[in-house]
């Protein structure tokens, strides 16, 4: 029990410690790919520290929603990330909440953020919130269909059990899993505001979605929201890693060495995923906002198809 709690604590710290690193790594690789030097990998940490030291400037029209949102968003995202097995399964929290709870946590974080975007009453906040909700209304069902596919396959909605099942021998080659992977990657790209859907590095008003919502934030509020978005990227990478590349995750109570190996495997997975994300982002152009619904509709369709095809495959 105490060991479980320790592992859970480690997990929460690992998630928090590596999230800015992953973001910095992706930025660095992207810069190198287009022939620039790019900021150092540790730059996100410095940005967060600098923002934490700066004073908060609030708009006159800002209500308590605007002030409470950064804390709620960060807390929800962090708890969500703590539920995903990164280097070890059998986490203490995973008995309390499953994959559907993760979707719900992320959904409530997004809801708060959209409210805060509307709260100050600027036109940018409104446009950002409305676009974010348009994206969410398609991305969330797609994510849920992926969750249903995995749960139907593994017989459980808990990520630990799913990872354990997928590590086992009786998975085989399943078309449902392939479709679910593609759908999950598309959802992850849309949810993390990565390039074909949104550009994380721009403040061009015609295209921005996520940045438009948080335009009014400053100081420690902005730091928390930035940190939450880093953690969210790490969360999606961890979910994809633990479900579709479950190798090396230590089972519960395997001892210290297994945990260290698990951590090494996890870091390798992050490195590969960050590289793939950077290559993907540099090789594709951003799509128009009104085409995003087609993109996410395709993700939803893949998720539904994965669930349907699950019923035709052999039932073992």
């Amino acid at each position: 029990m105490i060991l479980d709690a320790l592992v859970q604590l480690c997990q929460m710290m690992v998630v928090l410690a590596f999230a800015p690193l992953l973001a910095g790594y992706v930025r660095k690789v992207k810069a190198l790919l287009v022939g620039r030097q790019g900021p150092p990998i540790l730059q996100p940490y410095r940005d967060l520290l600098r923002l934490l030291r700066k004073e908060v400037v609030l708009a006159h029209s800002a209500s308590w929603v605007f002030r409470a949102t950064p804390y709620l968003v960060f807390a929800a995202t962090w708890v969500g990330a703590a539920l995903v097995p990164t280097f070890a399964t059998g986490l203490l929290f995973s008995y309390a909440a499953d994959m559907i709870a993760i979707v719900a946590l992320l959904g409530s974080a997004r809801f708060m953020l959209a409210l805060a975007g509307l709260d100050v009453g600027t036109s940018f906040g409104g446009i950002g919130s409305s676009r974010e909700m348009m994206i969410a209304s398609l991305a969330e069902p797609a994510m849920l269909m992926v969750v249903f596919t995995l749960s139907l396959l593994a017989g459980s909605t808990q990520l630990s059990s799913i990872a354990a099942y997928l590590q086992g021998p009786d998975v085989g080659l399943r078309v449902s899993l392939a479709l679910a992977l593609v759908a999950l990657v598309m959802v992850a790209i849309a949810e993390n505001a990565r390039i074909p859907v949104d550009n994380p590095a721009t403040h061009l008003e015609l295209t921005m979605v996520h940045e438009a919502m948080i335009l009014e934030y400053s100081g420690r509020h902005l730091a928390l929201i930035e940190a939450a978005s880093f953690v969210k990227l790490l969360l999606y990478v961890s979910v994809i890693g633990c479900v579709f590349a479950p190798w090396g995750i230590a089972a519960a109570g395997e001892g210290f060495a297994a945990y260290l190996t698990g951590l090494a495997f996890y870091l390798a997975k992050l490195a590969v995923a960050g590289l793939l994300l950077a290559v993907f982002e540099t090789s594709i152009a951003k799509m128009r906002v009104f085409r995003v619904s087609d993109f996410l509709g395709a993700a939803l369709m893949l998720g539904v198809l994965a669930t349907l095809l699950r019923f035709v495959s052999r039932l073992t």
Binding site: G172, L173, R174, V175, S176, A178, L179, S293, D294, G297, A298, M301, L302, V304, L305, L308, L309, F311, V312, S313, R314, T316
Partner: protein, 221 residues
């Protein structure tokens, strides 16, 4: 009993065929549509070849080869030339929006799975899967034919139906080779006839939107 891995690979190809059928409905450019159709034929030939391997039925290899040569190479090539000469390689005119077509497609897949699984409860696993997937592919091809105005898209829908029929036939322990060859060649002849027909339509109406035909017959559009 067949090895589970072999079954999984067969399932992968058959499921992939359904996916490519849905991708056909998603395309919004004629060039992309024809390329996706070539992929459709490629997947069906892979699926047939794999079934030939696990069913130990060598004549199915010929079916696969015919599908590969005629439908994945010759017909797409001919269609590419045709749409460039007709000057319609950029446009597709769907009757309803792509999103609605997708919803209908999902409904049809669910329908065919729900219909086929109870009916074929006695059959082997492979035949069950293939029949339900084949019915989905056929229904999606029909959907493609009714949801597009452009005659070339309708031709492609028609040919994807034929791919679905091949999948159904191979799942049910293969079909006689003579039938298969005659079907393949009748498809080719159909393509030629439809091609000539398309040019005739365009000469007369200066478009290949078949809605004009309805008006010409005096029907309400």
């Amino acid at each position: 009993m067949i090895d589970p891995l072999a079954l999984d690979i067969a399932h992968l190809f058959a499921g992939g065929l359904v996916l490519v059928s849905v991708m056909l409905l998603y395309q919004d450019r004629m060039t992309g549509l024809i390329n996706t159709f070539a992929l459709h034929a490629l997947v069906v030939s892979l699926s047939v070849a794999w079934q030939a391997f696990i069913q130990h039925a060598p004549h199915l290899y010929i079916t696969a080869a015919i599908a590969l040569v005629i439908k994945a190479v010759v017909i797409p090539f001919a269609l590419h030339r045709m749409v460039v000469r007709l000057g319609i390689h950029r446009t597709i005119e769907p009757v309803v929006s792509i999103g609605l077509t997708m919803l209908a497609a999902i409904g049809l897949i669910a329908l065919s799975i729900m219909v086929m699984l109870p009916i074929t409860a006695q059959a082997g696993t492979l035949a069950r899967e293939d029949l339900s997937f084949a019915l989905s592919v056929i229904l999606l091809g029909l959907l493609m034919m009714i949801s597009r105005r452009n005659a070339v898209s309708q031709v492609i829908g028609f040919m994807s139906i034929e791919n679905g029929l091949i999948l159904a036939a191979t799942g049910a322990k293969g079909m006689p080779l003579v039938v298969e060859i005659s079907v393949a060649f009748s498809i080719l002849v159909a393509l030629i006839v439809i091609g000539i027909f398309l040019f005739r339509i365009r000469e007369r109406f200066e478009t290949v939107d078949i809605h004009l035909l309805h008006e010409h017959r005096g029907e309400q559009p």
